[in-house]
């Protein structure tokens, strides 16, 4: 950002401050931190009210949940346990399977819908009929259909991301500026050139938008499927099962630990997508 115009002697002195100083002076940072601290404090006080003033002082809603300090302690206790990290692994595996399958099938399907008019006419209506059904409504049907729990979870996860990705790819491919196509045509591009050099890279931003939304849905679905199906038949069954199991076992602190964990997991995966998007689309990073 070399935005220093030619400043001659008559103007006041140019002052430079370090990035860190600038960052620390920013009121937004302080307000944000303050807000989170207040949030945690209210939660802590609210949750512990009954401990301090007796049972009759149990506050509604907030008084029924564990305080943050207790959650933190529970977390410290659970971090060394292999089972906890197994849950992470399992959930990530499921998310990646379903999400990967949805990308693999959804991108070509979406592009085909965008590129070929007849293909779109035939396949888009059934797609639109199925799309409004919430992915979780498919859970029982897929439990019946697929031989193992694992496969049915994968299927529902796949569905969750698939519709979002297809819609985004289709929308992205159809809004590519026609002038890019025309310019390429003038320069002698074949149909394949148009597809590989213009349509595909032109759709990339929408693919990543779709992927980011799809990733969010995938986590929701994996979690729900894990909770509904009882965590699979073999071993511990992912973070969703971890939450459900803790709830059944009456360990509320662990429930909240599970919630935070899955929040972090979701955040990590969407950050990964954003990072990958920045890598693959350097022209979008610039401004």
């Amino acid at each position: 950002m070399a935005s220093v115009a030619q400043i001659d002697g008559s103007t006041p002195v140019v002052r430079r401050r370090s990035k860190l100083a600038k960052f620390m002076e920013n009121p937004t940072i302080w307000r944000g931190l303050l807000a989170i601290v207040i949030f945690l404090a209210v939660w802590e006080v609210g949750a512990r009210f009954d401990e301090w003033f007796g049972k009759e002082w149990t506050l509604p809603f907030i008084g029924l949940i564990p305080p943050p300090t207790a959650v933190f302690n529970a977390w410290l206790k659970i971090i060394p346990q292999a089972g906890y990290w197994d849950s992470w692994l399992q959930s990530f595996q499921r998310v990646l399977t379903g999400f990967g399958a949805a990308m693999l099938l959804g991108i070509p399907f979406g592009l085909a819908l965008a590129v070929n008019k007849y293909f779109r006419d035939v396949f888009f209506p059934p797609f639109e009929v199925l799309r409004p059904i919430p992915p979780l409504a498919w859970v029982p049907a897929s439990l019946i259909f697929w031989p193992t729990n694992e496969m049915s979870i994968a299927f529902v996860t796949f569905l969750g991301a698939f519709f979002t990705i297809v819609i985004n790819v289709l929308g992205g491919a159809r809004t590519i500026d026609v002038r890019y196509l025309r310019a390429a045509q003038s320069m002698g591009a074949s149909q394949w050139d148009l597809f590989s050099k213009i349509i595909l890279p032109g759709t990339l931003p929408s693919i990543f938008t779709g992927a980011a939304v799809g990733m969010g849905i995938t986590w929701e679905v994996v979690l729900a499927a894990e909770m509904i199906s009882g965590g699979g038949t073999q071993g511990s069954g992912g973070l969703g099962f971890f939450i459900w199991n803790s709830y059944m076992g009456g360990s509320l602190e662990q429930v909240v630990v599970g919630m935070i964990s899955i929040g972090i997991a979701g955040f990590l995966s969407s950050s990964a997508i954003r990072w990958l998007g920045d890598r693959l689309m350097p022209w979008r990073r610039l401004f």
Binding site: D177, R179, Y180, R182, A183, S186, M187, G188, L286
Partner: protein, 307 residues
Amino acid sequence: MQTAETTQTPGSAGAGKIGAEAALDAHGVGKSHLQLQNVSKAFGDEWDRQHVISDMSLDIRPGKMTVVVGPSGCGKSTLVNLIAGYEQPDSGVILLDGNPVKGPGKDRMVVFQETALIPWQTTYQNVVFGPKLRGDLKGKALEDEAKRLLVKVGLGEFMHKYPLQLSGGMQRRAELARALINDPRVMIMDEPFRGLDAMSRGLMQEFFLRLFEENRRTNLFVTSEIDEAIFLADRLVILSNRPASVRKVIEIDLPRPRHYTMLNSPEAFAYKRDAMELLHEEAMKSFRTSSSSSTGGKQGFTSASGH
């Protein structure tokens, strides 16, 4: 101006390097003759047929800068699309050196409104895009030619930047380079400097003129700015309002090379007055045909031309 049609300009060395194909052409480097004969085009539903171009005949002479002006929305872009081959005329023919135009091709390069540089390719990649696709220039030769052109348009330092990193004026120049490397026989400029502010616009015009005056490629330049038109043109074509046809062709007899101060010469002013009068008349005509309400004339006129 006097020599343009017959002599091979020495400045076209780069173009000469590019292809044997162009050298074989009877009309010499980039100097083709483009003719429109009774071209018509309409769009829309049967009850609401919009005749955009009707019975237009136009001669775009070799080695000349032909500038087309008309009120906005009069069908200039459709004209460009027809000549470039993106759309087909309903009737009439478009001939390039006597051969009918069938579809898009590298012999007619278009520089689009705003800019149509492909945003996911760097400036350099954009420039080499065409030759690479066709494979008619390869390896070192392509690299050298691309660099030469980029340096020529003053973007030597910017070739590995993405289009969005460049200023508006730079984008236009990059697009010029992208068109030139294909060594087109006709350059088609569709309001290329639109959206630039008046001052960068003036500078771009001067720059573009220098490029043109160097090797006098056949050029069709579409614009809605009269000053720009007079400054650039050998032949000024004024279009009628919708449906567009040729209203008048004015030969602009200002000496080349041109300088921005020429715009303030009495000759240029005279041309301008003539052109403005015709355009005003056309615009008023369009108001009369389109205004359905009974309100004052002026306002309908504005609404017609303001979109």
